[in-house]
Amino acid sequence: MATTSSMFMYSLTIQPPSAITSAVLGQFAGTKEQQIITASGSKLTIHRPDPSQGKISPLFTQDCFGIIRSLAAFRLAGSSKDYLIVGSDSGRITILEYVKENNRFNRVHLETFGKSGIRRVIPGQYLAVDPKGRACIIASVEKNKLVYVLNRNAQAELTISSPLEAHKPQTLVFDCIALDVGYENPIFAALEVDYTEVDQDPTGQALEEVEKLLVYYELDLGLNHVVRKWAEPVARDATKLFQIPGGSDGPSGVLVCAEDNITYRHSNQEIFRVPIPRRRGALENPERKRHIIAGVMHKMKAQFFLLLQTEDGDLFKVTLDMAEDDNGQPTGEVKALKIKYFDTVPVANSLHILKSGFLFVASESGNHHFYQFEKLGDDDEETEFSSDNFPAEPTEPYTPAYFHIRPLSNLNLVQSIDAANPLLDCKVANLLDEDAPQIYSICGAGARSSFKTLKHGLSVAEIVESELPDKPEAVWTTKLTREDEYDAYIILSFKTGTLVLSIGETVEEVTDTGFLSTAPTLAVQQLGEDALIQVHPKGIRHIRADKRVNEWPAPQHRSIVAATTNARQVAVALSSGEIVYFEMDTDGSLAEYDERREMTGTVTCLSLGDVPEGRVRSSFLAVGCDDSTVRILSLDPDSTLENKSVQALTSAPSALSIMAMADSTSGGTTLYLHIGLYSGVYLRTVLDEITGELSDTRTRFLGLRPAKLFRVSVKGQNAVMALSSRPWLGYTDTQTNGFMLTPLDYVGLQYVWNFTSEQCPEGMVGIQGQNLRIFTIEDLSRNLLQENIPLSYTPRKFVKHPEHPLFYVIEADNNVLAPATRAKLLNDTTAVNGDAVVLPPEEFGYPRGTGHWASCIQVVDPVTTKSVVFTLTLEDNESATSVTAASFASQDDETFLIVGTAKDLVVSPRSFSAGFLHVYRLHEDGKELEFIHKTKVEQPPTALLAFQGRLLAGIGPDLRIYDLGMKQMLRKCQVTTPNLIVGLQTQGSRIIVNDIQESVTYCVYKYQENKLIPFADDVIARWTTCSTMVDYETVAGGDKFGNLWLLRCPQKASEEADEDSSGVHLLHEKHYLNGTPNRLCLMIHYFPGDIPTSIQKTSLVAGGRDVVFWTGFQGTLGILVPFVGREDVDFFQSLEMQLASTTGNPPLLGRDHLMYRSYYAPSKGVIDGDLCETFFLLPNDKKLTIAGELDRSVREIERKISDMRTRVAY
């Protein structure tokens, strides 16, 4: 990274990509339990399926800082642990193991074989392992195949040989798998096409004659070389291979999946072919041929089957029939191949069958699904198609097979895992009037699309909500004895009294508890063995198990203002500023310490820590006074109530809590003092367990109300609940052990206490106004909450209504029949029974038809009704391409919705018959659309924007200004830009034009002359997908290869563009190298690993600074945070260097970190925050080494890293 850059950004991922590009199943922990490892972007995640709950949950995620292309699992013979092989863009083969004890991946081998990057001849695209774990093949799209022999040495460690080459130049590989051959020499099968002849033959004859070969490569383990053993032509359009079990489990061989048919092939077997059944129905084109796009083979005792999926999502069960001799013994010869419809699930990237009877579907788009098998489709009424009735020769014609789709019968959906993939557009806005904005996005494809609202918060499950007769001020729960498992009482304190409720099958009031009911309560505690304590303003009641009550009265004319208790100690503060301290005696009675400590100001809050295990007391008392200080007093017998340390605060403390929590720095637990202030600020400081010193203070603003703190227990860990205008939970992240503070998605509470009962072992009881609420927090792993509103088709773009909380989403699906066509087909049909049944498209997809478009505009209300409130379908094979809400000065500033459409659009190579601008009037506060008129334009409008009371439109390469007329849109002026305008931004008279290929161009509109003049453009061709103006001179954007960049217009050019009101000077300025007169400067450049689909400048948290927020196609949410000072930049740069170096935490797959972030162009001016955050995951000794190199303490480094995130984001 150039250190000369004047601008630096810190890049962070808020949500990792949710698309799963590949997944493998295996026993990675070395136990009987199977895990699933998935690759999403550059992240490897191991998931644990829980068969008892039917749930799958992530165990650990690691960012590999490299593109993961292929995964494979293998097991050495006789071992019980699976290893993972990863093919990536590092030019290296990586073997990983999962270490269960540390919950980390460990790299076992890293072997270099070629250049880094994803190239035509560098292996990594295909990866296959011999089923017996003896060898693996890693292949590229063209020419290269490397075979590695896997073995173990005398120490039983995994070894990997040097690679054996099986290259064949000028050969393209369509698929490559390993054959199951039992313990014979390992064989790998590849689908190949040799293009040598095609390149030499000008007539085109060779192209027609080119053959696709199924090739077997045999690894001779004795001679240690690879031979091309067998090659046979197969169907020309075959693209996929599947393994058939061999050895003792089956006949071995492969299934070759081509368009419309599947063939069984093996070197010593006959050929068998079955068609892929097509859907029958009134809406289906009977001529449409399907492809197999995913599949899984499953072996059981003495039998096996395959589930193969077509692009419609239909699963087919494929089985082989074996021939038997006269005695009924199997001969090892295949008799027939059979196929039948199984069920329909979402179209998958990867399918996996678990031994426990589950099916994991990593969807191509939308949520991933986890199914349970109900049965295996063995004896249902589905027609089975056998190869007996179909010719085996690939060229011979046959009558197609048909089937009827039906709802799931063999599978049962048990879990749907939220995934925002593909994420196509996103806007951050605060429509709920909360203190932090929400993220609104459009995701998914086809009928499984959705409008997602993302909110920072933890989800809360409410168990009870009940209204009380009066407004309580506080609530506690208590056990009766130390050994009790569950709470017995709920104690409610009102202004003038106390109410005790007993917890049982019903919750009811009890009066004989010994609690004083005529006074409010300040604290309740179960003390010692079996006693209870009630602190009230006039004294302390000590209630023994036999209901004897000892009362300690407060001194005359003074009352108790604050109290704190633990199982052995009590401290109270009097209105005079005195602190009285009690400890439990050996006989269970409370003994007052003979001295009272007088504080300088009024005490506002007190806190005692828990009594540590094996000790008799907590040695610190924290005292908060209204002079904005917190003092730590010692409670040790030889220095009781002596000052240990003081901390000055910005405002008076309203709550204190001393608490031990898990800590990433020490690896164990650390004592913290949590402080809440009257100003709504929350502080967390480390409290030294010996000296009582306070250090490492971290601050966070919670809300406008005084912060109150409560100790709660969530998911087995100690957590702190901070209440301000909304409730927050402070807890330890399970993976990094870092401290997280997340708001709860719940009502504002006034008081909270732990609640444990038989039905609800880890609940909380809270007060909100006059209501008592009991709730639990169930998932701490996701701190972004999602709400989904289903949409009809693939959403393309959306705009917000200028005033109302409504969004207009344009949706379009290519190759899908429009609703009108569907209705017509259904009407015309003379269908027999069952053909006219239309099943829900969310599960079965829409009927398809090449060249057809289904498109609509939907109005989404994400706030009140949380649904689609209006749908307008486009007709005549038009598809929406752009949308904006524009107000027209000529129409009294009334806002209209303008939608650009294309008729008969063919995406590649691009063609269309016309483009239109539709104008809609908004009714009912924007909830309804009325069509006004449409204007035919030469090309489909691909970008629209409201501009100075008129409309700015990108019509192909033309940038135009339109005004709204009575009959049509009226063109006012235009300028031509390079290729195709895909986006527009404006500030003042400046317009930023995104070109599909030629980066961005700055234009200025000269009102007087009515001219659009481009004045600055870029030097690099960037295939822009999105951009935003971060200031008047600067544009942040992303391109379709997955880069993020920031471009700035030179100051002089920017000023000159606005100087001249007529634009004469600009018009006559000399053009430079076939472009505009000026060039933009690149400020930052970064490769985040996902394709940016939207970008904007916004703040994400209350009181946070503005950041550049971007979303990626695979569901990534990320931010770029500008650095303010040079000092921080230097620190993070050296931290980055340390982490990426071999002594730190170099990327797992062997990709050089800097090279990865500079994938297409050198990374500039960006610090990789994701790399910096891997510091949390390091073992302690490495942390110390790096801290030593940087001359800072580990705690300081962790604080800096976590501050970078928490200041601006989650």
Partner: protein, 85 residues
Amino acid sequence: MADKLRTLQQLESLQAKYVGTGHADTTPYEWKNNIVRDSYASYVGHPPLLAYMALGLGENKEVVRGQLIEKMIRATGPPPPREDD
């Protein structure tokens, strides 16, 4: 002369190892073919890019992958007719 020969041999081995390495006599057809094949291989190899294109085309990712590799066979049309024919 020996030096020149060695350079030539080195170049040849480089060309054999890294498909697409050019030389003084690279024809426009070869050059274009290499560029196009490299591009298609890159589209197939980058998972987000393949998914992006598949969504744009309204096709399945796996189907698009097959089509793109298929296109690599005849990347830029027939070669120019040989002069000696």
